[in-house]
């Protein structure tokens, strides 16, 4: 189900059916209805469904669909009747940082910052350490959007918190307001290779690219991917299947292997929790405690060697909660 597409297929799809895509929910139902009705299509075309599958469909049945990036107004509203939610299973995370890598290359993130960062956590001296991948929590009571003076960062109806870097004035109020250090500031111009790769992209808050000096950026839950029915980069990039993503309204979350489970059941069975619940920010990211771990626990004394210019601050290792 999660096969990628080869080059020729991509070109073909691009030419033949990009314009003949379908709107996310209504379109999908339309297709299903058409298929179940078993009418014999006369003029067929290939279509891409929201979950990334290809159908042959009758041209007459299809609705026009604007390919991303969506307009600024649409990006601010979000997808109706969806509440996106992420579940991260600490028992499955082995700290390999594949999620971070997938995210970095997807969003062309510069090496000094990580939109999803894998922390080594230890709540107290006697408790067991564990790996803690941390994206943006897309809180339902977001401290960041509260303090934005120009509505450059905003909460959408599907729960996602985004940044409009064409409006951001760079006051960094949101950065100091975020208790999870999720936001990053573009202190300088993007690097030349980055400009070469992303400079010509058409900006949308859903794309977060091209990035601009003097504005804030953060994990965006890959809304452009979601619109295509695809999982965010970190979720599909997780080799351990530790990250689940889905729609809370559907009560289902899916991981990289395509295993879809009932969201409420998953939390119930594994005693799911949210990080720093007492702050009252109501995160949309849930965690499953590291019980019955299959992988070795993190070595809290090892310093990070992955980045050359890095340093771990051991004094801050102990965490609240």
């Amino acid at each position: 189900m999660n096969d990628d597409l080869n080059k020729s297929r991509r070109n073909f799809i691009k030419k033949a059916s990009l314009a003949a895509g379908i709107t996310l929910a209504a379109g999908a139902i339309g297709i299903e209805k058409f298929l179940s009705a078993k009418s014999v299509p006369k003029k067929k075309t290939l279509v891409l469904t929201p979950d990334g599958k290809v159908y042959q469909a009758n041209c007459g049945e299809l609705k026009e669909f604007n390919p991303p990036p969506v307009s600024n107004l649409e990006a601010r509203k979000g997808i109706p009747n969806k509440k996106f939610v992420m579940v991260i299973d600490e028992a499955k995370c082995d700290g390999c940082k594949a999620c971070t890598e997938a995210c970095q290359s997807m969003h062309f993130i510069e090496s000094d910052r990580e939109w999803i960062k894998v922390f080594k956590m230890q709540d107290s001296e006697s408790t067991s350490p564990y790996f803690f991948p941390k994206p943006c929590f897309h809180c339902d009571n977001p401290p960041c959007t509260k303090v934005c003076p120009v509505n450059a960062t905003f909460k959408r109806q599907d729960g996602i918190v985004l940044i409009d870097n064409e409006r951001c004035i760079g006051c960094r109020s949101c950065m100091v307001a975020c208790p999870y250090s999720t936001r990053f500031f573009n202190w300088s111009h993007p690097k030349a290779d980055q400009i070469a790769e992303t400079g010509n992209m058409q900006y949308s808050p859903e794309l977060s690219l091209p990035r601009r000096m003097g504005t804030v950026e953060k994990c965006d839950f890959c809304p452009d991917m979601i619109r295509k029915g695809l999982l965010p980069a970190c979720v599909s990039g997780c080799a351990m299947d530790a990250i689940y993503f889905g729609d809370q309204n559907e009560d289902a979350v899916t991981n990289a292997s395509g295993v879809t489970v009932k969201f409420s059941q998953l939390l119930e069975d594994n005693a799911g929790y949210r990080h720093l619940e007492d702050l009252g920010t109501e995160p949309r990211v849930y965690y499953l405690p590291p019980k019955n771990r299959k992988y070795p626990k993190p070595d809290m004394n090892a310093s990070g060697k992955e980045l050359n210019q890095t340093e771990m601050k051991m004094g801050d290792m102990r965490m609240s909660e």
Binding site: D4, N6, L48, D51, N81, K82, M106, Q157, T254
Partner: protein
């Protein structure tokens, strides 16, 4: 079945990586001049009895002897019929080492009502030649739902073609029942697998507590995975068996974190600072009056003029 990723990640990873890695690879292999040992795996996906896809997974041995996905390998697909091979199409593998083709609709079947597809890597600069074949029987999987059904029974029917060309049911094939969700298929219940009976039928009762959309509509799915005879088959149907999702009355309420502020906050700020600015206006008016004030001499002078 195959999924399509047209996204930035893909564009970058595929576009750039393929370009770069193939160049690098060509250089390195030119030095070695030894082709890599290559294997192909084939799978067949049939969906809604219309779309038939062949996915070829190509792996190649690296220098350490590990088999890794072969990127950008050209795979030729042939239809094999009585030792006669008809070229169908060629496809290149992606970064996961997968090459896909969609089979033509009216695929000629052999005497056993089967079709055989061969995938070959031929004369590739990097990869050794490799061949793999698959043979599957033509079959139809269908999911039948009774209209206005409140019992939530979905009946999957699997049929194939008999020796004499008649349609016959298939018994003892495991069919899995799912509910379609945004990013994948969710097992409809804990025990979601049923085998077909002598009529080729499997009836599954969907549980009540599955979330549907705002009209309670959801898509139910019947699937056969990796069957020896038929490969992978899938059939979807739409029904209103889901729990109705209550629409948010106000997706963008007046709130501290939303674009529009709560009214009490606006009123408080407006009253407090409006009051101050109103006072300022009084002061500005006084200043205006000071400016317009005539001196005693002027008043006297004007009085004289009037007289």
């Amino acid at each position: 079945m195959k999924s399509i990723i047209i996204n930035r990640y893909f564009l970058k990873k595929l576009g750039f990586t393929i370009a770069v890695s193939s160049i690098l690879f060509n250089i390195s292999t030119a030095q070695i001049t030894e082709k890599r040992t290559t294997t192909i795996q084939l799978s067949f996906y049939k969906k809604a009895n219309i779309s038939k896809t062949i996915v070829g997974t190509v792996k190649a041995k690296n220098e350490e002897g590990k088999f890794l996905p072969a990127i950008n390998a050209k795979v030729n697909f042939y239809l094999v019929n009585n030792n006669a091979q008809t070229f169908l199409k060629a496809a290149y593998t992606n970064k996961a080492g997968k090459a896909n083709i969609i089979l033509p609709e009216n695929l000629p079947l052999d005497t056993g009502h089967c079709f055989t597809i061969a995938a070959k890597i031929e004369n590739d600069k990097v990869f050794e030649d490799a061949v793999e074949e698959l043979r599957y029987k033509e079959a139809n999987l269908e999911l039948k739902l009774a209209p206005y059904d409140t019992s939530r029974i979905a009946k999957a029917v699997l049929k194939t073609i008999g020796k004499n060309g008649e349609v016959i049911p298939v018994q003892d094939v495991e069919i899995k029942f799912y509910v379609k969700r945004l990013f994948g298929f969710m097992p409809a219940a804990e025990d979601y697998t049923l085998a077909t009976d002598e009529n080729g039928e499997a009836s599954f009762t969907y549980p009540k507590d599955i979330m549907g959309d705002t009209a309670g509509i959801l898509t139910v799915v019947a699937r056969i995975d990796d069957n020896e005879l038929f490969g992978n088959m899938e059939y979807q149907a739409v029904t209103a068996w889901g729990t109705v999702l209550l629409k948010e009355k106000e997706p963008f309420p007046r709130a501290l974190w939303e674009p529009y502020a709560p009214l009490p906050l606006i009123i408080t700020i407006a009253v407090l600072f409006g009051g101050v600015w109103f006072t300022y206006l009084i002061i500005f008016y006084s200043l205006y009056k000071i400016k317009k004030e005539k001196s005693d001499e002027q008043i006297e002078f004007e009085a004289i003029i009037k007289q």
